[in-house]
Amino acid sequence: MTTVAARASGAWRLWALVPLIVLVVIVSLFATTGGSLIDLLGRTPPPADVFDVRRVEFKPGEIKVRVTNPQQDDLTIATVTVDDAIVPFNLDGPRTLERLRSATIVIPFAWVEDEPMLIGITSSSGIQTTHEVPAAFETPEPSPKGFLGFGLVGLLVGVVPVGLGLLWLPSLRRARPEWLAAFMALTAGLLAFLALEALSEAFALQAALPSALGGAGVVLLGFVGSYLTLTFLSHKLAALATLVAIGIGLHNFGEGLAIGTSFAFGELALGTFLIIGFMIHNVTEGLGIATAATEERRVSFARLGLLVLIAGAPAILGTWLGGYVRSDVLGVLFFAAAAGAASEVVVEVGRWLRTRAPGGLTSGWVLGGFLAGVAIMYATGVLAG
């Protein structure tokens, strides 16, 4: 009787705030007197005093080095070396960097094209951060020509192969239900492959982040965010083909991002062979969308065009973004989101197979198709290097 009354009175809602208030009190007490607690435990180790070199750009007669302070304590730029020689430099930004603050070191320097280089930044405590540049070459500026070039690369590795894959739609419509189930399972296999690839890329990028920007949890954030969004959407958008296209599109965005970034920073020789490899790799993605589209009784050309855009066009956006902007945190989130989306679509396709495939999930057609999907992605992935 009284509990009911208390519940109703709302006093218990206020009680829910008490832990928060007490927490604030304890935190402020610790913040003001915390030093003495640390003293009880002994000295804290000295800071590492290592800079995080975010980006090195080469301009005619000039090298620009963007550095960030990844640690709690302030970090001061004292001297700068190029190939073990102290060089004069200008600073764009503060000399003493607070936590996560950045500055750009501008070094007037007659660098030699295509030669490796070692950049050193020494902190006021004498700790030297070295950064190896595999080969010096002029960093591309955003220009209409470069913009077009990156766009074309995105078009070739994203839109074109997905469009080609969709041309299988009429043949798939005439396929026997067992074959259709096999192709659907193949789609699930290729998406599973893409999910794992994206996840591993996300972890690799995350590992290279300064620890202050978050641990492996960032990957989970991106993964769960996109997985749940797609789960929500899958109950609103009935079309399986759209879901598959979104999953593939997010992956292609990440792929474009990786290509653009690697190219802009000279870590990737973007040869014809590599582009051909990506194209063959991605044609399979078009096949996956086509298989899902057989669900729909009539598919207009506009609808097909939309699917191609959803799945392929993000590659163009990705190359642009990767070519001109570099944010490792965004990279981690995008790859994690791609993994989450692809995983969600695997689940959706699995649901479809369970009810629609002759023989259900465990039929030889489904198992064989799934395996084939993974194997084809691996084999064509080898081509993409």
Binding site: T79, P108, S125
Partner: protein
């Protein structure tokens, strides 16, 4: 009181260069290039320091007088010193600088060096020269707070050096416990403008390699504050190599030649513009400048030169 060989010290001074290009801002269209970007205020070195300046000029030589007592007092101290522009190094020093003070005696003087260890670690002073076994600074380790008096006749004449001989030896030396030790010959040397140059290096990040190289302490000090000398009188440099980690160091003079007396003796004399010194090697350089103007001197190991071991003579009439 006859001050022999005590060169006209007034003439040995630092030239202030006029350049005032700034390293803030972005107008490097007119910025100096190459070595011109590394002189005067453009040279990345530390603020002018009277303590460092004092290391360049040795105390005057005294006439030969066997048995005369020469007292020196050295205190080992842990201090943070600026070894390059903005770079602070937790050094172990004699009297607060790395290198420590110049010790000078005439042969047959009775050298008495009072040593007190105010550092956190046990130290000694090991002198190069001829002395009794218990004056060698090897077994008589001076603990934290301890004292020891080294007393022995100064011999043989020449250019010597001293350093700590506690273990680990490499650390005790590269942290800064070393200095120049001049023993003047009974027959006085000719008057000259006398300088002391102790070649050293600093491993600031503890990886067993020097991050900075220098003469008498901070990197690029004499590039920022060129040494003004007169053409009309011999320039005599007492030079010692106390660089750790790197097997050799060197002294190379631009635009002129010099006589090099190995270990400051007469037995081996060379006429050259470049002398190679192994670890612990030392000697005397005598330059009679033919021209006035600005002449560079540096290690001929280009890496050392570009990591701080480079300076200039400003030769005036």
């Amino acid at each position: 009181m006859p001050l022999i060989a005590a060169g006209p010290l007034a003439r040995v001074a630092f030239a202030e260069t006029e350049r005032s290009a700034t390293h803030e801002g972005h107008d490097h269209a007119n910025a100096p290039e190459g070595h011109a970007a590394m002189i005067g205020r453009d040279a990345p070195s530390i603020q002018r320091s009277p303590e460092i300046d004092a290391l360049l000029v040795p105390p005057p030589a005294l006439p030969h007088k066997p048995g005369r007592v020469r007292d020196y007092s050295l205190v080992a101290r842990d201090v943070e010193i600026e070894v390059a522009q903005g770079v602070h190094f937790p050094a172990w020093t004699y009297n607060g600088t790395a290198p420590g003070p110049v010790i000078r005696a005439t042969e047959d003087d009775l050298l008495r060096v009072h040593f007190r260890n105010e550092g956190e670690h046990p130290h000694t002073i090991h002198f190069h020269g001829i002395h009794p076994a218990n004056m060698d600074g090897v077994f008589e380790i001076v603990p934290r707070g301890g004292e020891y008096t080294y007393e022995f006749p100064a011999r043989p004449w020449g250019m010597q050096l001293y350093h700590c001989h506690s273990t680990p030896l490499k650390k005790h030396i590269h942290k800064g416990l070393y200095g120049a030790f001049i023993i003047d010959p009974p027959k006085p040397r000719k008057p000259a403008q006398e300088l002391v140059m102790v070649l050293n290096g600093f491993d600031t990040d503890g990886d067993g390699e020097n991050n900075f190289y220098a003469v008498n302490g901070p990197a690029f000090y004499y590039a920022r504050y060129p040494i003004r000398v007169s053409r009309s009188q011999t320039v005599r440099i007492y030079i010692a190599n106390l660089t750790e980690f790197d097997l050799i160091n060197s002294f190379h003079l631009h635009g002129d030649f010099f006589r090099y007396y190995r270990t400051g003796r007469d037995e081996v004399v060379e006429y050259t513009d470049n002398v190679i010194l192994g670890q612990g090697e030392r000697g005397i350089i005598e330059i009679d400048f033919a021209n006035t103007g600005r002449f560079m001197f540096h290690a001929h190991q280009s890496e050392f030169a570009e990591l701080g071991w480079m300076g200039f003579f400003e030769v005036v009439e």
